[in-house]
């Protein structure tokens, strides 16, 4: 099981890097925001895996907070766009 979780953690890291590449490439703000959304989800996944790997249940709380606040960040981004175009 440990090996599997290690593999998932590293795999998620790969996913993170692909997302980062998209953030850097863009080209539009929407693309970047999508990629940030992915990075948030990847971060949540990583924290969940780490919480089992390192035997630290509190990391699940961190993941929960991250998940909720990723929504706030997306809301801030799109809210800003809304305000701009209406």
């Amino acid at each position: 099981m440990t090996e599997l979780l290690l593999l998932s953690a590293t795999g998620l890291m790969l996913s993170l890097f692909l997302g980062l590449l998209r953030v850097l490439l863009g080209p539009s703000a929407g693309d970047r925001m999508l990629a940030t959304q992915l990075i948030g989800t990847v971060g949540v996944g990583m924290l969940l895996v780490l919480s089992v790997l390192l035997d630290e249940p509190a990391l699940i709380d961190v993941a929960l907070l991250l998940a909720l606040l990723a929504a706030v960040a997306a809301a801030a981004f799109t809210g800003q766009q809304e305000a701009r175009h209406d």
Partner: protein, 94 residues
Amino acid sequence: MINLASSILILAGLFFYLAGSIGLLRLPDLYTRLHALTKADNLGLGLLAAGLALHSQHLLTSLKLLLIWLAVLAASATSAHLIARQARRQETRR
């Protein structure tokens, strides 16, 4: 038995994560990328969380994992909609 099931779920989750990220990078425009992202959010995290919940076998932990998944699901659906609508508006404006 449970271990096997949870391993399979975690691996499947990882697969969708990677598929989603590759899609986000390789697909040609915003709308198709949007489609790829939802694979990672919905399926990737969902399967991963399900696998970990099986592994932990605590009710409270499983509930938290479910909540996390639901939060990400709803947030990604909403923001995907908003991002798409915004992109669409910019197109029609041009």
